[in-house]
């Protein structure tokens, strides 16, 4: 995903997937201690181009993140703030960092960078995020709460943005005053204006997917734990992941028991990581 954004040295696997910059930053911070090179290159990119990240979205995503993510983002944000004039939220103590200078500016015309293209056109704003959500969701009618959750923005700001986009003719509305639903109008014209869009089928809701992916990756640390203790620890974590996995359609119900437990878990996680890692669904 960072390769799509202009970070050097990695293969591109998500050309058609609508990326989510702030969700990626948070997860990268959380996993930073596993990959020093990725940490340094991601920091380099954020120091050079972090002004196009949304502080509002970082705040919203941080508020719903777990403790390890908040803690690791603390030093990441502090390090970015220390080397820039940015004021990313949740900053704690900065870490030593030497810019690598290898990051290039994001090519916002890439399909995967729809989010940044919209920000280039509409500014780093609720309006840009709302449009991103509506473009990915296509013709589906969506209420204010659902759009706000998908955009990781406050409901009031999203309601205003939806109203403005409706009045400006980009969206159509249905329903009564307090239960209004919106969807994209004239999507062909929007596509013509914006250029190549990512494939909605390949565009996972990364703000929900990435924390689960991070959890799966962290669970690989248990590889040397005795099997039953590993299974019990995974079961503890699985309970926390289960609602999101069900919403994402990755796994419903329970894992098998006894000897089937770890086999089921590994099947599900490998399948999910393959899909998310390759950018196809």
């Amino acid at each position: 995903m960072w390769a799509e954004l202009g970070v050097s040295g990695w293969d591109r696997h998500h050309q058609d997937s609508a990326l989510d910059l702030e969700a990626l930053i948070l997860t990268t911070a959380r996993l930073a201690n596993r990959d020093a090179r990725l940490r340094d290159e991601a920091l380099d990119w954020c120091v050079a181009h972090g002004r196009i990240a949304s502080v509002v979205r970082l705040k919203h995503l941080l508020a719903s993140a777990d403790q390890p993510t908040r803690e690791s983002f603390g030093w990441f944000a502090a390090t970015v703030n220390h080397h820039t004039h940015l004021r990313w939220p949740g900053a704690t103590s900065s870490q030593r960092f030497t810019p690598t200078g290898r990051s290039s500016a994001p090519v916002v015309t890439r399909p995967a960078l729809l989010q940044l293209r919209l920000r280039a056109l509409w500014g780093v704003s609720a309006r840009a995020e709302v449009l991103r959500v509506m473009l990915i969701e296509g013709e589906r009618l969506m209420g204010v709460s659902e759009v706000a959750a998908a955009a990781a923005y406050g409901k009031d700001a999203v309601a205003d943005a939806l109203d403005n986009l409706h009045r400006g003719g980009l969206l159509e509305a249905a329903g009564m005053r307090n239960q209004r639903m919106f969807r994209l109008r004239r999507s062909e014209q929007a596509t013509a204006l914006l250029g190549p869009l990512p494939d909605p089928r390949h565009s996972a809701p990364w703000q929900r997917v990435l924390p689960v992916m991070a959890g799966f990756l962290e669970a690989t640390d248990l590889a040397d734990t005795p099997p039953m203790a590993r299974a019990a620890e995974i079961q503890r974590r699985w309970r926390g992941w289960q609602p999101e996995l069900a919403r994402l359609g990755v796994a419903t119900g329970h894992l098998g028991t006894g000897a089937d437990f770890l086999r089921d878990y590994e099947d599900i996680t490998l399948r999910a990581l393959r899909v998310w890692g390759g950018g196809s669904t």
Binding site: T225, P226, M228, A229, R230, A232, E233, Q235, R236, T257
Partner: protein, 187 residues
């Protein structure tokens, strides 16, 4: 037996991995099964006390960290989250039979050490439970499996009366003893 043993080893392994260690006093069917005194299948482990520095502490409530591990292990093994429970903990309110602690048998699983009620103490506990829960309960079957002597039953009845001195309980107890061929107990 295999399932219980597997569950206990899994519990100990997981406690170890989470840097926890517990000594527990177990009574009931699982304790009898571990001592080889019965063979009926049971997966509930009834805990009456937690041993802390040699002292029995009432197991109700069980330590939350222990319950968390038991829940995780129970769900993985498909034996349910509440297989390890403190259901008999109230027995400690009026006291266990004299010398109970000295007679327990120790099973060391590493991060889990079980103090299992000895056979004569299980006779006391099972007689009390059999009276409490009636002649069709599993406790009567367990008591038969223990093949208690008349003296053991008389001693058990004396202890059971310390837990319930009511006339109604005395009558039920007399009936239970008669079922086991003892009709001269002084209650």
């Amino acid at each position: 037996m295999l399932a219980l043993d597997q569950a206990l080893r899994a519990l100990a392994e997981t406690l170890e991995a989470r840097h926890l260690r517990y000594e527990l006093v177990a009574v009931g069917g699982s304790g009898l099964l571990l001592l080889g005194l019965i063979s009926r299948a049971t997966r509930d482990l009834d805990i009456v006390a937690v041993v802390d520095d040699g002292e029995y502490i009432k197991a109700d409530p069980l330590p939350p960290a222990l319950l968390d591990v038991a829940r995780d292990v129970g769900e993985v093994l498909g034996i349910g989250p509440e297989w390890l429970n403190a259901a008999p903990a109230a027995l400690l309110d009026f006291g266990l039979p004299d010398g109970f602690a000295q007679r327990t048998e120790i099973r060391d699983f590493g991060a889990l050490v079980l103090h299992l009620a000895s056979r004569p103490d299980q006779v006391c506990l099972k007689l009390y439970a059999a009276v409490d829960q009636g002649p069709t309960s599993k406790h009567v079957d367990d008591l038969w499996a223990l093949a208690p002597t008349a003296d053991e039953l008389r001693a058990a009845a004396t202890w059971a009366r310390t837990h319930d001195p009511s006339p109604a309980f005395r009558d039920e107890l007399r009936g239970a003893l008669r079922m086991f061929g003892v009709d001269d107990a002084e209650l």
